[in-house]
């Protein structure tokens, strides 16, 4: 599904290069559930952002569904991730001004899905997450776990092939966290969605089929279960 070859990202500070990512090589196949771990500052989030095309590496080759991302223009990249990728964030990043319904609907608007179709899709999603009763509430009126559910629902609405999750349970208590992880596992197993998550927690990492450990911008270890 995606392939990173010799990916580096660094900042020029005086004469020195400070590496955030240093010569990363990574292949992820469709249907995998990858957990990225590592201490603070090891480059986990940056790696995830590079995969998600939100951030550009300083050098290296990046292929996604057989397209050379490093050669694409901004617009094409955007079209690519719009079609294939859904994001889930630690801080949920819901739009405060929008209701639950509208938050979930938003990606569809940007993909030019027709109004009636949108309605049906959002209704399905609300049903699936058992949030029909909450559809007119604003994010501030929900608990953290509920907000993250909305965040996941929003990420799934456009039927992505890949979900990128940056510490999805970081702001949740353990029970809520478990629920979210169960949901991920189900998505991965039943719907075949590829998932890449960044996490601090060994326990959460074990939901995945592969754990990658980062240290100082390098892949220190990678083990499959």
């Amino acid at each position: 599904m995606l392939s990173l070859q010799h990916i580096s990202k660094y900042y020029q500070a005086g004469g020195n290069k400070t590496f955030v990512l240093n010569d990363i090589n990574l292949e992820v196949d469709e249907g995998e559930f990858v957990s990225i771990m590592g201490p603070s500052g090891s480059g986990k989030s940056t790696l995830l952002n590079v995969i998600g095309m939100l951030d550009e590496p300083s050098e290296g080759y990046h292929y996604f569904v057989n397209q050379p991302v490093h050669q694409l223009k901004e617009k094409q990249r955007s079209a690519l991730y719009k079609q294939y990728i859904g994001f889930v964030f630690q801080a949920y990043h819901l739009i405060d001004e929008l209701t639950v319904y509208e938050n979930i609907e938003t990606p569809l608007i940007y993909q030019d899905v027709k109004g009636s179709e949108r309605k049906a899709m959002v209704a399905d999603m609300l049903d699936r997450f058992q949030m029909v009763g909450k559809k007119d509430l604003f994010p501030a009126q929900l608990s953290g776990g509920q907000q993250q559910l909305v965040g996941i629902a929003r990420a799934l609405i456009a039927k992505p092939k890949l979900i990128l999750a940056d510490e999805p349970t970081g702001n949740l208590n353990s029970k809520q966290g478990e629920e979210i992880m169960e949901l991920f596992r189900k998505l991965n197993k039943e719907d075949g969605v590829t998932i890449i998550q960044v996490t601090h927690s060994e326990k959460n990492a074990e939901y995945g089929s592969r754990i990658i450990n980062l240290l100082d911008g390098r892949i220190e270890s990678s083990k499959k279960f």
Binding site: G52, K75, Y81, F89, P107, Y110, R154, A158
Partner: protein, 803 residues
């Protein structure tokens, strides 16, 4: 998408109430001011543009070519227009006409009612088109002055009944009441003409008025001619001047002529001569500029406040981009918000507009012929507002949709506290405008004050003036009885009173190589005492001295008799300036001078302070039967004196209206334009400062919000409230200081131009700029401190607590 954008914009508006309120109040103020000024400006520009033949109607402008510095006059020799019609094939019609106020006995009041009368001759129908409702006024009925009244007068005084063929009586200032024959009713004459009137009187002129006299005794009339369409006006003008030169031979041509297009008359008439309805193109420019500035400031506020929120909205922008929004889609979303703000403000402005336009009409002194609700205008305005809102929204929309999606993934908001350069420039621009306006207001105020308090050479207080009147044979009797009223110190019948002009007539006198006009004031011998002139040398004229005064009757024969009197040794008094200018010696008959100067008095300003001192000579008339009466009363006695004067007046002149004014008010009226300008500038400066401060308030609010963490840390490290206030205020005070530097030369330039209109004026002084600057700094400091103090006293524990 559009519907969703509107819904979101609306929701956002309610969510950030203070931000929305600041924006809406600011934009509403700017738009409303703009709407009102636009109405006034369009109305001003519409004057005399609706006459069918208007493009071919010209007013004759006459200028004395041999007196240095003489102003063009909008009046010319009475016989000129008829002569041009006879001799020039280009001239197809003419009319001598002007608007005066007359008392006509409509209704029951024996004093009649004052009506604006367009006094004209039958030629008027060739030039101007009026909608005739009744009668056939174009057919002249000789033997009477024909009068055509407006529908308004018909409705008010005749209940709308047919009045054609009726006789009404006019009470003229001079002579006996005259009978007018009503020959028709016309639709009301529109307000937007300099010939604004409620009735038209038509009278044929005598044949002797239709030629240019050769004896030097001219009467002047405002005259209009109709040219064949397609006439080359410059060529025609040259032709007329050549023609006049030939006509005047062998003497050199003493006058030159110009022809002023009808549509220029209202706004571009900086001429001598009577024209009561007069605008000023300069004011049109000033008002348009101020209105545009107001809107500009409002828009700057909008831009500044909107882009200040970029950091609050960066998160939303980022998320939306992650969710697949393109830059165009995001810009559209923010643009929708801008347009919504403008739309709401515009609707509020439209609602307030009718209430305010009433005051504007009151201020202007007449109804506006145009208003916003005339469809084409409204449509144009909506279009302009839409364009302005798009134009204003474009930059913020671009700016707000700029953040890359990755910003939301990073915790820190980079350099949020710095004002960007554009924002700084906008704040400087705004305050430069405010400071200029404050300085201008100060200078205008100072000049008005100067004119108000300047010693005019006579005592304008406690002085009553009864306007020009035909006293007939009761003049002296009336004066005697008035003088006997307790509280009256003295009274004088005079043909000049303060603000009435330069004197009753003038002659040209050679001074050095040039010719100069010398003005004459004719009054009874009491004038000098009534006005409290001071004697510098010699004596004043005295009624006890029989030889001091000429007989009033001799004045009736016009200039030539004055010349006779000049040859004699009639005593006269003059001002110091005149005596020096003409080199007059006390009690000696000058070589080029008529009469003997028996006294020199202090200089006095016969005209407004726009004009320089004029050489003026005062002579006495023994028993004047025309003229105004000046009454000097003891302070505080005015009211009771007036009621007694009124009683005597009614007794002697039962058919006349008693019309008086305080001389102080007459003097003020000379500066009516300036007073209005001052009032306007005061309103504008308050508005502009208000808007600028509103914007500043908004900016500081956001700065304080964004720096809340920094402020918290500084407080924890020991900074006091004053330190924090200084920290926030410093950036803005710098900008305002720059604004003062930018504004000062602009204001200085504008004001030195404006002051050139006054012969006597104040000097622009440094402290005016300093004061303007200090006012701006104080007001803005006040505005800033409201928010910065709030930020400074907030508990740092709250702001530093992480989520």
């Amino acid at each position: 998408m559009f519907k969703i954008n509107i819904k979101l914009a609306w929701r956002n508006l309610w969510k950030h109430k203070s931000y929305s309120l600041i924006n809406i109040v600011g934009l509403t103020t700017g738009l409303l001011a703009c709407l009102i000024v636009a109405t006034v400006v369009i109305d001003e520009l519409s004057y005399d543009t609706n006459w069918q033949k208007g493009d071919n109607i010209y007013r004759i402008i006459q200028q004395n070519s041999h007196i240095k510095g003489s102003k063009p006059m909008s009046a010319a020799f009475s016989g000129l227009a008829p002569s041009l019609k006879r001799d020039m094939p280009e001239v197809t019609g003419y009319c001598r006409m002007s608007v005066i106020t007359e008392r006509v006995k409509f209704g029951l009041d024996p004093e009649g009612v004052a009506v604006k009368n367009l006094r004209a001759e039958p030629g008027i129908w060739d030039l101007l088109d009026f909608k005739v409702l009744q009668g056939d006024p174009k057919k002249y009925v000789s033997g009477y002055t024909n009068v055509v009244i407006s529908r308004k007068l018909q409705a008010r005084y005749f209940n709308g009944q047919n009045v054609v063929g009726k006789i009404v009586e006019a009470l003229l200032d001079f002579g006996k009441p005259t009978q007018y024959l009503v020959t028709g009713v016309i639709e009301n004459i529109p307000q937007n003409t300099h010939l604004r009137a409620d009735m038209i009187t038509v009278q044929e002129y005598r044949a002797s008025d239709n030629i240019i006299p050769t004896n030097g005794a001219y009467t002047f009339e405002t005259q209009y001619i109709l040219l064949k369409s397609g006439t080359d006006v410059p060529a025609f003008t040259a032709k007329v001047n050549k023609w006049y030169k030939k006509h005047n031979a062998p003497k050199p041509a003493d006058y030159i002529y110009q022809f002023q297009p009808m549509k220029d008359i209202y706004l571009k008439s900086d001429f001598g001569g009577w024209q009561s309805v007069r605008g000023s193109i300069q004011n049109v420019y000033i008002f348009s500029a101020v209105a545009v500035l107001l809107l500009l400031i409002a828009c700057i506020n909008f831009v500044n406040l909107t882009i200040s929120r970029v950091f609050n909205r960066a998160k939303e922008t980022g998320i939306r981009k992650v969710l697949g929004a393109g830059k165009g889609q995001l810009m559209l979303r923010f643009l929708t918000e801008s347009v919504l703000f403008f739309a709401i403000s515009f609707v509020i402005a439209l609602t307030l507009y009718p209430f305010l336009i009433k005051y504007v009409e009151e201020f202007m002194g007449h109804k506006l012929a145009i208003n916003l609700y005339s469809s084409a205008f409204l449509l144009g305005v909506i279009l302009v507002v839409l364009l302005v809102s798009l134009g204003t929204g474009l930059y913020p929309a671009w700016y707000l949709s700029k953040p890359k999606p990755v910003v939301i993934l990073r915790d820190k908001v980079s350099s949020g506290m710095q004002l960007n350069i554009l924002k700084k420039a906008l704040v400087v621009g705004q305050f430069a405008i405010s400071v200029s306006i404050i300085i201008i207001t100060i200078v205008v105020q100072k000049q008005l004050n100067f004119m108000n308090t300047k010693d005019l050479g006579f005592d304008k207080n406690n002085l009553i003036n009864i306007d020009y009147n035909d006293w007939g044979k009761y003049g002296q009797a009336f004066k005697k009885r008035v003088k006997a009223i307790p509280g009256v110190q003295n009274a004088s019948i005079t043909n000049w009173y303060p603000s009435s002009g330069t004197g009753s007539m003038s002659i040209e006198m050679p001074i050095g190589k040039e010719k100069k006009e010398v003005f004459f004031i004719m009054a009874d011998a009491d004038l000098a005492d009534v006005l409290k002139f001071k004697t510098k040398s010699g004596r004043l004229l005295s009624s006890a001295n029989v030889s001091d005064a000429m007989n009033a009757d001799s004045l009736m024969y016009g200039m030539s008799d004055i010349a006779v009197a000049q040859k004699g040794a009639l005593p006269l008094i003059t001002t110091q300036y005149t005596a020096n200018l003409l080199d007059l010696k006390l009690n000696k008959k000058g070589d080029k001078m008529f009469g003997v100067m028996v006294g020199v008095i202090n200089d006095f300003y016969s005209e407004s302070l726009h004009n320089k001192l004029k050489p003026t000579i005062i002579q006495a008339i023994s028993d004047p039967n025309f003229g105004a009466m000046l009454i000097r009363v003891t302070p505080g006695a005015g009211k009771q004196v007036l009621s007694k004067v009124n009683k005597i007046f009614k007794e002697l002149y039962p058919a006349k209206a008693f019309e008086y004014k305080w001389v102080g008010d007459l003097i003020d009226e000379q500066y009516k334009t300036e007073h209005k300008l001052q009032q306007l500038f005061t309103v504008f400066s308050v508005l502009i400062i208000f808007l600028a401060c509103l914007g500043l308030f908004g900016l500081v609010t956001f700065t304080a919000e964004q720096r809340i963490k920094e402020i918290g840390i500084r407080k924890v490290l020991g900074a006091g409230v004053p330190d924090i206030v200084a920290l926030i205020s410093k950036d803005y005070l710098w900008l305002i200081a720059i604004a003062i530097v930018v504004a000062s030369p602009v204001a200085w330039y504008a004001m030195s131009k404006w002051l050139q209109d006054f012969a006597y004026r104040i000097n622009i002084q440094w402290w005016m700029f300093a004061l303007g600057g200090v006012v701006a700094v104080l007001i803005s400091l006040l505005t800033i401190s409201v928010q910065s103090v709030k930020a400074a006293i907030a508990n740092p524990v709250k702001s530093l607590r992480s989520e």
